[in-house]
Each structure stands twice: as C-alpha cells, then as structure tokens.
C-alpha cells in the first residue's frame, strides 16, 4: 500500500438550507486513482472544492502528508500541490496556453517583467509531455475543449502536483479524446500522483479507478476496491432506496398520439431523431450532458430551427419560429437553467407566473391583478410552494420552491405538452418528491410530459417509457421491466466505449 497523501476528516459544509457535506471522511494514496461517485447533489463537487480551497469547511480537518493543513484559498492548495481540473473549464480565453498554464504564478524578474521565453519553454515541455500538438503561444479561445483540458492538466505538471482532482473530465469529450485523457491519467498515476476522479459514467470508473467512494446526500456510503465491486453494487449504494416507493409513476390512461417527430436533424447537435408522445404519457429522455437532449427540446419549442425533419403536433405539421408560437399552440418547456432561462429573480411569484401569458390575464393590455392573485394562490396550494406571499422576491426562495414556481408558470398557460429539462437539478429531496408527484398528477389529467434528466433513478421512477440519447442520436427505447439502470447505462455508454 502506498503512502496516504491527503485525508479529509469528518468534513461538514453547510449552505443555506442544505447540508452539502455531513461528516465526510476520505483519503487518497499516492499512485492511485480514487473515484468519487454519487448522484447529482450528493456532494462530490462540494467535497472537491473544499479540498482545493475554493470552499472552506465549517467543521472537520484536512491532513496533507500526515500534517494538518488549513487550505483557505486555491493558491494555498496549489502550493501544497493540490490542483483541480475543473468540470466547466475555467481558463482565460484571450490569454495564451502558456499564460493560462502559469496563471497566478508567472515567472518574473525583480522588475516585474514576465519572462515569456522561460514561461513558453517550460509550458512547451509540459504540453509535449502530454502529447499535445499545439504550441504554448496559441490563444486558448482557438483551442477545442479537449485541448483546453490538456492546458489545465499541464498546470498540474508545472506546479508539480501531488494530488490532482478531475471533476467530470469526460463530459464533453469524444471517444478518442477520452482515450488520450486516460493515457494522461495513467501516466500521472505511474509518476505517483494521487488522483481523484469524479464521474457519472460507470464504465469509465471501472476502467480507470483503483478505489471507489460513494457519496449520497452528503454522506459517505462506502469505499471499496474496484476489483472487488460491481456496477450493480455501486449503483445500489448511490441510490440507496427502493425506487418504487420513492417515485410516483402516473397511473394515467394513455390517449391519442399528440406529438410525432420524424428524422429531426440539426447538424452538429443531433441527427435523425424520431419518436412520438401520446397524451397522458410520461416519456423520459435520458442521456449524458452534451448528448443533444436539450437541443432536441429547444427545437420542438421553436428556440432552434431544424435543418431537416418534421414535427407533427396535435395533428398539425408545425415549425415554430419562436417560443411564443409554441406556447400559443399548447406547448411548454421548463428549461434546465432556471436562473438564466426561466425566472426573473428580482420579481415576485405573481409576476413570474403570469409573465409569459399576460394576455390570458389582461384586459386591454392591463393585467387583472385579481385574476393573477387567484392563479398564484391556486398553484401555491397545489404545488406546496413555500413563500410569504405573491410579492416575495424569488431570490429569497430556496431552489426547490423556485423550481416549483417555474413549473407553475408554464402550467397556468394550460399546455397540452410539457417538456421538463432537468426538473429537479439542485433541488432538495423534499421538493424533488413533490415535483415528481406533480408530474404524475399532470399526466393523469391527460397532459403529455417529456422529462429530460441525467438522473437515472428519476427517469426510471417517473416515466412510462424511456428514450436514450448518445452523441446526438436516439439509441434506445425501453418500457416496463426493461427500464433498468443497467440497460440505460449500456445504451448511453455503448457508443462512447465502442
């Protein structure tokens, strides 16, 4: 057994309304790849941010090479040799690769002049070691995502990292790019670097990791050696509850075909996507981030224009050129990122709910406040929204209640089809369950529902039928007993490993 490089000891981290990490203990050895797994919101990213100095823990201690350390800033973490390769790459696009690699520690003489030649030479050595085919002087904005990631990894080489944390590094990479990344990870491991590897993709974890730690709701469920474990065991640990009891599948009568999509294509995003949805039906759309799910939804809703293919909605061939038309025909899309796309946080609940369909609640262009208030109270009770009143600013509400409001906002236009993109992301367990229950109620009332989610248990729990997407293509369709985690994983990773 190799030496333990970094230990987290009973880390507690609270955010307003949530305990993100509840007494998490965790250790990493030199020369191992330690995978960290868990559902969205399980606390993986929070833990990594604590270790790399971006967040400070409320309680608990971090030990580095046996010594207790307090890591207050990313810079202090870097000085200890702990570096994070971000999930969403965080480079400066207008600076060169070398300048990004050395960001925060540019070599200067006593006059403050940056020694670019020295910096470029050292950066080139690091990039060459990683097998990169671009020079240190190229601007980062001209690099692909995979190459930008290599720039971030080069940082770990020049700062001589002894702990490298990869936060979902393969989310947007192609298969070859992934293989190159794994080469790099293996060579780092060989050099004795301790590696933490966060990912959702089971097959990747079992390919690269030596040990696996599973987190759920901010607590460690288990730490196992990869060779002694199975995908099934890890999955159970991640979910840790009986799905049928936890989720609410609609017991609705499936009606007529409402939406039918035929060979829908937008070049560069998705290709030949065909499926149909009937009223009263909940259809799950599962796939990894970047598979093209959201883009398909946006095309249905008129945000994007398809290159080819047709959409038949409510027995009519449609091609919406704006969301407004889609709303008028009875479609609703609850977007993935509610802060930037769904809500105006500086306004109250009443305004947010009726804003997209003010014409329904107005006389001669003036909103009828009584109508609005009635609608607000109506959905407040139906969805159990916790707010002090119709005017309370949404920025003061919790994520779960905000999400319920987004839902309410689209429901008060009485749509026939509602598309929910990641309806429970960043939402606490209680609100999740309320939202799931409401999805079932909607379907039972005869609405057609499409749920896009990267949380497997959620898709399986609420859907009547599941479509899987990978790399812009529809790769599978499952109903009833076929809707298992194993099938879904096989479907979406089948293409990525082949």
């Amino acid at each position: 057994m190799n030496e333990i490089v970094l230990t987290a000891d009973s880390i507690l981290k609270k955010f307003p309304g949530v305990i993100a990490l509840n007494g998490v203990s965790f250790d990493i050895r030199a020369g191992e790849v330690h995978a960290l797994m868990g559902e969205n919101g399980a606390g993986k990213s929070t833990l990594m941010k604590v270790l790399s100095g971006i967040y400070n823990p409320d309680e608990g201690a971090i030990h580095h090479r046996g010594k207790k350390v307090i890591v207050k800033t990313p810079k202090e973490a870097r000085e200890l040799g702990i570096l994070l390769v971000h999930q969403e790459l965080s480079l400066s696009p207008e600076l060169s690769a070398a300048e990004n690699i050395y960001l925060g520690d540019w070599p200067t003489n006593w006059f403050g002049i940056v020694n670019k030649r020295k910096m470029n030479a050292a950066a080139k050595t690091a990039l060459d070691e990683l097998g990169c085919n671009f020079g240190p002087e190229v601007l980062v904005r001209n690099l692909s995502i995979a190459k930008q990631q290599m720039v971030e990894i080069a940082r770990t080489l020049v700062f001589n990292a002894n702990v490298v944390i990869f936060d979902e590094p393969t989310g947007t990479l192609t298969t070859t790019e992934k293989d190159q990344l794994f080469e790099v990870v293996r060579s780092l491991r060989k050099k004795g670097v301790a590696i933490v590897y966060i990912s959702h993709k089971m097959d990747e974890i079992f390919e690269i990791a030596d040990r696996i730690t599973v987190l759920r709701d901010g607590e460690v469920q288990c730490t196992v050696n990869t060779c002694e474990s199975t995908i099934g065991e890890i999955t159970n640990r991640m979910i840790g509850r009986d799905l049928d009891q936890y989720f609410h599948r609609a017991k609705s009568e499936i009606g007529n075909q409402l939406l039918s999509v035929n060979k829908l294509t937008i070049r560069g995003f998705f290709k030949d996507v065909s499926f149909s949805v009937r009223s009263g039906e909940v259809v799950g759309l599962y796939g990894l981030i970047g598979a093209g799910r959201s883009e398909v939804a946006e095309t249905l809703f008129g945000v994007r224009r398809q290159d080819s293919g047709e959409i038949i909605f409510n027995k009519q061939k449609v091609s919406f050129s704006s969301p407004k038309q889609a709303i008028e025909k009875g479609m609703a899309l609850v977007p993935e990122d509610r802060k930037s796309q769904g809500l105006i946080l500086g306004m109250g609940g009443r305004h947010n709910m009726t804003l997209p369909h003010l014409s329904l609640y107005s006389n001669m262009g003036v909103p009828n406040v009584e109508n609005e208030l009635q609608i607000f109270e109506d959905y407040k009770t139906k969805l159990e929204i916790k707010t002090t009143g119709p005017e309370q600013m949404l920025s003061d509400l919790s994520g779960g209640n905000q999400q319920k409001l987004v839902l309410a906002k689209w429901l008060c236009a009485n749509p026939k089809l509602i598309i929910l993109d990641e309806p429970t992301r960043g939402v606490d367990v209680g609100s999740k369950s309320a939202i799931h229950q409401y999805i079932a109620t909607l379907a039972e009332q005869g609405l057609a529902v499409i749920v896009i989610s990267s949380e497997m248990p959620e898709v399986i729990g609420v859907s009547h039928r599941i479509l899987t997407m990978a790399e812009g293509r529809l790769v599978g369709e499952y109903t009833g007993k076929e809707m298992t985690e194993e099938n879904l994983i096989a479907a979406v990773s089948g293409l990525t490993t082949a």
């Binding site: 971006i54 800033t73 990313p74 810079k75 870097r78 965080s90 480079l91 400066s92 696009p93 207008e94 600076l95 300048e99 960001l103 925060g104 520690d105 540019w106 200067t108 006059f111 403050g112 002049i113 940056v114 670019k116």
Partner: protein
C-alpha cells in the same frame, strides 16, 4: 523531364500557399487593428474634401488636440481591460487643471503641478479602493465620484474661471519636433510605456487575466483587487497629467472644463476595438481610436459643419465602427 515539371509545380504551389498565408496574416492584422483602416479612410475622405486637411500643420494640430482625450483614454484602457469603467476622468481633469492654476500663486508653479497630479492619483486610488472593497460596480462608484469631484472643482474655483498670472506658464508645452507638440509626444510616450507594461509585465498581463475571467484569475491566486486599485490610480494620475497640460495650453481653468469628456474617452477606446467588458484590447487600438476621433472632429470643423451635425456624424461613426468590429470578429470566429 516530367520530374522537373513536377518540381516546378511543387515550388509554384509553395509560393501560392506562402502568398495565401501572408495575405491571410495581413487580413488578420486588419481584423484586429481595423481602426487604422478606418482612420485611413477618414483621412482620404477629408483630404479630398478640404485642401487644408492633409497639411503638416493640421496633422500636428489633430495630434495635439487628440492628446488630451488621449491621456484619459490610456487610463481608461487600463481600467477597461480590467473589466471596469471610470466615469470620473473628466471631473478629475478639471480638478487638477484648477489646482495647477489656482495654487501657483501661493505655492509656486511646480509644487502646484505636483499637487494637481497627486490629486488625480488620489481620487483614482479612492475610486479603485471603493470598487475593490465594496464590490459595487465601478459604473455606480465612479458616477458618484464624477459628481462629487465636479462639486469640489466648483467650490475650489468659486464657480469662476481661474487665470494664470504668469504667462510663461502657457509657454512650457510650446516645444515642437516638426509639427508634433510636446503634449502629443508625452501622450505617445505614455501610450508606448503602458503598452509595454501591458504586454511585458506581470501587472499588465494579469490585468488581462482579471478582465477576461475574474473567477479563474482569483482561483489561480491573482490578487484581483490590487490590480484594480493600481489601474484606477494610474487612470486618475493620467487624468491629472491631462489637466495640467490643458491648463498650460489654455492659461485658464474653467470649472466646467472637460464636461462629458468621459464619454468621448469611452468612445475613443471602444472605437479602437478594446472590449467594453474587459480582457481584450491594447494601447495601439486606443491610440488609433483617439487619432480617428480627433481627425473626424478636425475634419468636420474644417468643413464648417454646424455643431449639431458634428454630433450626428460622430454618433453614426461610432455605431458604424462597432458594427464593423462585430462583423469582423464574428467572421473571424467562424
């Protein structure tokens, strides 16, 4: 035989690609420094329209007139690259020009100039410190200091124009090399110096890093606040320099001097191609923007354009230049 033909074809192809690549790099330079192309077009148009425009004397005039906005623009570029903005530069200029003239009888010319310069740096520092410590957007902070500093100017001058009693004071900047005045030379000196700072020193490069992606800069351990304070201080100091030189040129200091110059300054910087939100731009662009603005104003005046037409033309030009910039950058990213 066929072999030599093949070789000829080869070398011909090589030449073609080298021509292609060099014309590509010229295109790239034009894209990145489009302001100079724009300036060139303006020069041609005005030269055709007025016989007085393209004379040595007039070019010198344009440069000197442009220099005052130029000092402010150099400072504004530093602040803007950092992702901030400084609206108080016009007021700061007025204050330092009032101090330089108002204090010279009691403490002498050079000490008065020193106080004037320091007042600029001081208010720049205050701006920077407030922005860095409060986290409030610099637009708001410097809007406040714009009004506050202008108020101080009115109190100091007693709402009247101050005049120098020592006429030699107005002769200090009357040094020329050819048609280029000392003021213009100082402006170019500063532009050159700060371009060097930006492209070579740690402070300069980190200024770009902060403006480009403040979060990643902070996480990399760059002292974001310190860079901002330094740049605001430099911006104030440069406004002070402009104030002193303007007071020398005019011999008077009006309380209303340099009103809305902050807007002309922003226009010059943005016209040059520096990004309003930070992280991209250079002093070369700003110099181009400043000269273009000055040439436009000068040309329109030579043609006896009425003041309001002048404003309409300037506004149109600004919008056109930015549309050009936008199309060029988006065609580049494709």
């Amino acid at each position: 035989m066929s072999n030599t033909v093949g070789m000829k074809k080869d070398s011909a192809a090589k030449i073609m690609t080298s021509i292609k690549s060099s014309s590509l790099s010229i295109l790239r330079i034009i894209r990145e420094q489009h302001i100079w192309v724009f300036l060139f077009i303006c020069m041609v148009v005005f030269s055709l329209a007025s016989p007085y425009f393209f004379t040595l004397n007039n070019i010198g005039n344009v440069l000197t007139q442009g220099s005052f906005i130029g000092f402010l623009a150099v400072g504004m570029t530093l602040v803007m690259l950092n992702g901030e903005i400084d609206l108080s530069v016009g007021a700061t200029l007025a204050l330092s020009s009032a101090l330089a003239i108002g204090l010279q009888e009691s403490i002498g010319i050079w000490p008065a100039i020193l106080v004037a310069l320091l007042s600029g740096a001081f208010f720049g520092f205050i701006n920077g410190a407030l922005v860095a410590l409060s986290g409030i957007h610099s637009f708001i902070i410097t809007l406040g200091s714009l009004m506050g500093i202008r108020g101080i100017v009115f109190i100091f001058t007693g709402e009247e124009a101050l005049m120098t009693s020592d006429y030699s004071y107005t002769e200090y900047p009357e040094i020329y090399i050819g048609p280029v005045s000392l003021t213009a030379m100082i402006f170019f000196g500063f532009a050159l110096f700060f371009q060097w700072i930006l492209s070579k020193t740690r402070h300069g490069l980190e200024t770009y890093a902060v403006g480009d992606n403040e979060k990643s800069a902070h996480e990399a351990g760059i002292r974001v606040r310190r860079h901002k304070v330094i740049n605001f201080t430099l911006c104030g100091l440069l406004a002070g320099v402009a104030g002193v030189l303007l007071s020398m040129r005019l011999g008077t200091a009006e309380p209303n001097a340099a009103r809305i110059w902050e807007l002309w300054t922003i226009i010059a910087v943005v016209l040059g191609g520096t990004r309003l939100t930070g992280g991209y731009g250079s002093m070369w662009k700003t110099v181009g923007g400043v000269i273009t603005l000055a040439a436009l104003l000068n040309g329109l005046r030579l043609l006896n354009t009425p003041n309001y037409i002048e404003l309409i033309v300037m506004g149109t030009v600004l919008v056109l230049a930015l549309i050009l910039d936008k199309t060029l950058t988006s065609s580049q990213s494709r």
